[in-house]
């Protein structure tokens, strides 16, 4: 279990004053202080970690958000922003001395502008609701994290959410054009808009994916895209993982960018098939779902090419979706893969590293060895096209010591991802979960450069403390300049 920042006793002693002040800003039922009512906020999508917040505030207007933050800033109260609470990395995990600032009441889509192909929305609207609002005109919002029925667009901005289709359409960051953000001192700032490029520094680029550490987003401008005319999926089964991995690389190298390219290993295939009966082959070691979208003529043409590439790599099973129903059935198995592992173990711990695609067979083999070492099962689903792994470590939380073992197993997997040239997290975020692993990827100097950006936005470090960075340096300490050795300009360098 990770350590959270020490609660501030003085803040806890002021709880009643803080509650009264927040009630004055957000009247009615906008402040939650009753222990039973606070309970639903004690955790997010990473349910292994729980912490009751001091208070929850649910403002309804930008002005209220601004006043809440201004009050917290003036009174040095920590704030944990929260959307729907679906983070898989503990991004919205409360602190015992912090106010959880929930954006759940910001539920309106403000503008749909088809000429400029954007939607302007409040942050509490769900990801799927954006697409639903524009689909009758043939548009969609491309990033589709698997929690899209529940997760909010504001949370997507904070976490730079991905999804199965980001191979072709990009992550959240590639699909956001502007935000309105409230800073910790209560200032409301608009960054970006409906145009494509920033006027000055690309502040939007760092706000997206900042995990609630830089500010609270109160409005977003999103790029929407015409929904492709046709989508077809093909299931490809391989007797060995290496063949499937090579097939993925060959498809990409042929210049084909599928809308999605997912891989499942044998345990994941078996669980999913037993759970939903998607028609997956059970006599293969790896299964690919490749989806192509675009004009029907393009899908038909490319699917033939994909099939040929698969056969050249030893595919023993090929099935092309013949209709929309069948395509959705292919996906149903993949989408059910996580809950389906419940057949193997009561709990699973979902990891999220990215690796260079070519290292996949080796990484799978080493994860298999780790599975034996820890005595815990593992099932693997991947966004194979972009090398994003989601190993599911299987455990039983009721067995003493298994959660700790699962965490250690997970940590070793992520260290392996970094070792082979990859990264700790592809789309779930660092949060509290991967915070202490950051030094595996970044030196202290690297992290200090990131933290100074945090200081530029939030010098008192009141927003979402304890997330992303393994050590809490005070901003004054980070700002200090270390004096360099040489007193004269570098003499041996040529000047001309």
């Amino acid at each position: 279990m990770v350590c959270l920042p020490q609660p501030d006793a003085e803040t806890l002693a002021r709880r009643e004053d803080i509650r009264a002040a927040l009630c004055a800003i957000v009247p009615g039922e906008g402040v939650i202080s009753d222990q039973d009512e606070l309970r639903p906020y004690e955790s997010d999508g990473l349910t292994a970690y729980r912490q009751m917040p001091m208070l929850v505030v649910l403002p309804e207007t930008v002005e209220q958000v601004s006043q809440v933050l201004r009050y917290c800033h003036a009174n040095k109260v920590r704030v944990v922003p929260r959307g729907a609470g679906t983070s898989l990395s503990g991004g919205a995990l409360p602190l015992s001395d912090a106010v959880v600032l929930g954006l759940g009441k910001f539920k309106s889509i403000l503008e749909i502008d088809y000429d400029n192909r954007v939607v302007v929305s409040q942050p509490g609207v769900t990801n799927l609701a954006i697409t639903e609002a524009v689909q009758d005109r043939g548009f969609h919002y491309a990033p589709d994290p698997s929690s899209q029925i529940a997760c909010t667009i504001g949370g997507n901005i904070a976490e730079n959410a991905g999804g199965v289709h980001c191979l072709k359409y990009g992550l959240t960051t590639n699909n956001v054009l502007g935000v309105e953000i409230v800073l910790i001192d209560g200032d409301v700032v608009r960054i970006g808009g409906k145009q494509l490029d920033p006027a000055g520094l690309d502040l939007l680029g760092v706000v997206v994916g900042s995990e609630g550490l830089l500010g609270v987003v109160t409005e977003v401008t999103l790029r929407i895209l015409p929904r492709p005319d046709t989508a077809r999926a093909v299931l490809l089964g391989f007797p060995a993982v290496a063949g499937a991995g090579k097939c993925v690389a060959d498809v990409i190298e042929a210049g084909i960018i599928p809308a999605g390219m997912e891989m499942m290993d044998k345990p994941a295939i078996e669980c999913a098939e037993a759970f939903v009966g998607a028609g997956y082959p059970l006599d293969v070691d790896a299964l690919l779902i490749v989806e192509l979208d675009g004009p029907a003529a393009e899908c038909d043409y490319l699917i033939t090419e994909v099939e040929a590439i698969a056969r050249a790599n030893g595919a023993s099973f090929v099935r092309i979706s013949q209709n929309e129903e069948e395509r959705l059935r292919f996906w149903a198995g993949r989408k059910a893969a996580f809950p389906a592992t419940g057949r193997l173990a009561p709990d699973y711990y979902c990891m999220d590293g990215t690796i260079p695609r070519r290292r996949l067979p080796e990484v799978l083999e080493r994860m298999g060895a780790m599975s034996a070492k820890y005595g815990l099962g593992i099932a693997n689903v991947f966004h194979a096209g972009d090398g994003n792994l989601h190993p599911l470590v299987l455990y039983d939380a009721n067995q003493p010591g298994q959660l700790e073992k699962a965490e250690a197993f997970g940590e070793e997997i992520l260290r392996l991802c970094v070792e082979v040239g990859g990264v700790l997290t592809g789309e779930h975020g660092v949060g509290v979960e991967k915070r202490d692993l950051m030094p595996a990827m970044f030196s202290e100097v690297d992290l200090a450069h990131q933290q100074r950006l945090k200081c530029a936005f939030d010098p008192d470090m009141l927003l979402n403390p304890g997330k992303v960075f393994p050590q809490l340096h005070r901003c004054a300490e980070l700002g200090r300049m270390h004096v360099h050795g040489g007193k004269v300009s570098f003499p041996e360098l040529e000047r001309f």
Partner: protein, 388 residues
């Protein structure tokens, strides 16, 4: 001029400048030197010592190169593997008759993207990670070597387009993309700006998957759509565009040469005279034609639209405030790209941000460059103006 070739020396140079309270200008090929106000820096760092592609694995679609590597070298290397930089960076120095010197670091630092930006994103969307030395004289890295990565703040976005005000980039890791098997361009001739804008709006909102769309006024004007992909797909999408615009006349296919020439003209803007200040106006896409007509009601200025209307290039002697007010009221902003030294010292190159954003930008600059070693009059900073 200083020309380090490793991060240790570069860090020493910057650290020393900090100690001696000197300012440094970071320069690649120097093609874009006349962008921004004239200024006096104590020294220039020539980054071309950081040259060479250190890693290129076509199967992984990732390339790592020294920031001082020539853009043309990288482009021909990836072309050899039938790949490309999809954001279509181009040789900005041509605007000042200083073509052929662009480096990848300068291209990233200036955030240069071409016509395909509208479908494939900008430089910021293709920089996966980097190594740099900050204004603190410290080497650091950010991002990674894979496409899908949310580990830590996305500093790659921040340094792209920062014009050397935050860090000296020493190495960049870029996403590369397979080259489309086929590229075909189709023109609608003789449309008015408003009709062209409507045609682009409709096409961009359709399933035609337009790779790029631009409008060149003239006699006749040309509204051109670029389609990329495989043959049967282009045929289907061409048919779709022709049908949706049937009442606007024939959708005329351009020959390969004609197409290449058209996009070169759009991108490089060399066709425009140098006697007028050159502006680059970023707008909500549907506003492009209306803005052009507003700024040039008599049809005398030279201008054209790229990015389906989201980018207006215009050479005009209209005063800067008029242009910037018009751009801002349409929800956009205006960059002064090329002008004489007098105008450049008076008019900031980058559209002045609203006060809240200006405050943030200043704090962010301070985070990476606390002593203002990279600050200069070029973007309205510099020692005398550092009190902000």
């Amino acid at each position: 001029m200083l020309r380090p070739d490793n991060t240790h020396d570069l860090a020493e140079i910057i650290g020393t400048a900090v100690q001696e309270n000197r300012t440094l200008e970071i320069r690649g090929g120097g093609g874009k030197t006349d962008f921004g106000a004239p200024r006096a820096c104590d020294d220039v760092i020539d980054m071309r010592g950081f040259s060479g592609v250190s890693q290129y694995d076509p199967a992984e679609l990732v390339l790592t190169a020294g920031a001082g590597t020539q853009l043309s070298e990288i482009e021909s290397l990836v072309a050899g593997e039938n790949q490309m930089l999809a954001f279509e960076p181009w040789d900005y120095g041509l605007l000042w008759n200083r073509g052929g010197v662009a480096t990848i670091g300068g291209t990233i630092a200036a955030g240069i993207a071409g016509s395909r930006r509208v479908s494939m994103g900008s430089a910021r969307d293709h920089l996966l990670g980097f190594e740099a030395v900050s204004g603190r004289g410290e080497r650091f890295i950010a991002g990674g070597n894979v496409v899908k990565n949310v580990t830590g703040f996305d500093l790659s976005k921040l340094v792209t387009g920062s014009w050397g005000r935050l860090v000296a980039l020493t190495q960049v890791t870029l996403k590369v993309v397979p080259r489309p098997r086929l590229v075909a361009s189709f023109a609608l001739d003789g449309l008015s700006p408003a009709a062209a804008q409507r045609a682009m709006n409709v096409a961009m909102g359709s399933q035609a998957e337009i790779a790029a769309a631009a409008y060149l006024p003239g006699d006749p004007s040309q509204t051109v759509f670029r389609l990329e992909g495989i043959d049967p797909s282009i045929a289907a999408r061409r048919q779709l565009v022709a049908e949706m615009h049937a009442e606007l006349g024939m959708l005329r296919p351009l020959s390969e040469d004609e197409g290449a020439q058209f996009w070169e003209r759009v991108q490089q803007f060399v066709a425009l005279g140098e006697d007028q200040p050159l502006w680059r106006i970023h707008l909500p896409p549907s506003q492009g034609a209306a803005m052009a007509e507003k700024l040039d009601p008599a049809g005398e200025a030279q201008w054209h639209l790229d990015w389906a209307g989201a980018l207006l290039w215009i050479a005009t002697s209209l005063d800067a405030d008029t242009i910037r007010d018009a751009a801002a009221s349409a929800g956009g902003h205006a960059t002064l790209v090329r002008a004489d030294a007098t105008m450049r010292s008076r008019v900031p190159a980058l559209h002045p941000p609203a006060s809240g954003v200006a405050k943030l930008e200043s704090k962010v600059r301070e985070a990476f460059d606390p002593m203002g070693v990279f600050a200069s009059a070029r973007f309205g900073g510099g020692k005398s103006a550092r009190a902000d």
